[in-house]
């Protein structure tokens, strides 16, 4: 069960690559790894929190009002996270700006509330939220990494916004001014995400082929033997 939930969130049913939910913040924020990490963590926090709340109240909220209740829970949580980020990660808050309130509109959150949390007990629900959030964060990180690397030639620039003023762990991978502008512009985000989705499909196909091939080989071997 636990393994299945993790696998669903991180790979099989990844919100960014398979469900294609929350594309607006996903595409807009991923100009660098750190931006992606910040939004990913905030989204994960909201996902886990909303799944927990939704799951705990699932037995005494009538089905006909569940959606407005979910919306209210999610909106309150997002506002809380936004205020907390403004208070404790002010610089990052400045960068992520309007995308924090936009977590409310991330369909992945209400999607998980409806599809999973409202049908399961709190513990698996929280775990599902964490795994879905982790899957989303992973996509944000990879896409942010690709775009930052191609666009600025760096990785992890701006880590001081998250981890305090004296953590500069920027990696200058490519020479300065070698930026590939398209990667930073919105079309670059779409192309990057498209490539990631394609890559995932290719990997899935390979795995599937191998799975089909293995028993066949086994059968052939036993026949020959």
């Amino acid at each position: 069960m636990i393994k299945e939930i993790a696998l669903q969130g991180l790979w099989k049913n990844n919100p960014g690559l398979v469900q294609l939910l929350g594309l607006c913040p996903l595409l807009a924020v991923t100009t660098s790894v750190i931006n992606g990490l910040g939004l990913g963590l905030a989204t994960t926090l909201v996902l886990a929190g909303s799944n927990l709340c939704v799951s705990s109240i699932r037995n005494w909220v009538r089905p006909e009002i569940r959606i407005p209740v979910f919306v209210m829970i999610i909106a309150s949580l997002v506002t809380t996270v936004e205020l907390a980020m403004n208070a404790w990660f002010h610089d990052l808050y400045r960068v992520l700006g309007i995308f924090i309130p936009l977590i409310v509109t991330n369909c992945a959150i209400i999607g998980r509330a409806e599809a999973f949390a409202s049908r399961n007990s709190p513990l698996p629900a929280v775990f599902d939220g964490l795994m879905m959030g982790a899957g989303f964060t992973l996509v944000l990180l990879v896409l942010g990494g690709i775009r930052e690397l191609l666009g600025h030639g760096t990785l992890l620039a701006g880590a001081n916004m998250m981890f305090g003023a004296d953590t500069d762990i920027t990696l200058h991978v490519l020479a300065d001014d070698s930026g590939f502008l398209l990667a930073l512009l919105p079309p670059g985000a779409f192309i990057g995400l498209g490539l990631l989705v394609a890559a995932k499909n290719v990997i899935d196909r390979r795995l599937e082929l191998r799975r089909q091939a293995l028993p066949a080989i086994g059968a052939a071997a036993s026949q020959a033997g």
Binding site: W60, S76, A87, G151, L181
Partner: protein
Amino acid sequence: MGNSDARRPTLKSMAVAAGVLALFAVVGVGLVALTEDSTHERIDRNEREFLLRSLNDVLPGERYDNALFEDTIQVVDADLLGTNQPVTVYRARNNGRPEAVILAPVAPDGYSGAIRLLVGINYDGTLTGVRVVAHRETPGLGDAIEVQRSDWILGFDQLSLKQPPLESWAVRRDGGQFDQFTGATVTPRAVVKAVRNSLLYFERHRDALFADEASGAASDSEAASPLKNQQEDRPHSQSETHSESEND
């Protein structure tokens, strides 16, 4: 009969549903209010620190000894400061003597909208520094005006309307002395113009800026009049807003 039976529970369940919804609204609002209450001091402090950090980027903290936040006035000059909204002027003093001002003008003609700046000007009319506060220029092209991206903006330090002369206050493509960026001329042009206009504004209003009571509005007409001649000497080549400003 079946109908009336079905109706009563529906009305009741509607009331219950409304009650549950209201309950969640109250809990949600309560949660947000509690968080707001426990974070707003910290957020205020963050905002102030951020502003002070930006101001100190433009004018080092050791240059003044007054409370920069309190010693401000609001001025309006749509032509030179780029917006018809009031622009904040921070006045830095040392031992009570005027030391410098920091203006927060707007470059209205960036490539994708207004660029908000902080411009620090010494009492003698030289620049202490310029920084971009907010912009929406193209990443990778126009965003070289950010100090994190390139040190182009540092090139303004110590310049004034005399050094270089007024006609050189333009990007190279327009015959001036400031570098444009590869692939982006509009952005640096807008910033150069806004900085130059801030200097012109300061030159015309300097004494009025320091004389006014804090948070009062600088009176435009008095301050402008002694410097009318200066205005007419200005070259015409530079831009439309510029020529409009000669009619004021």
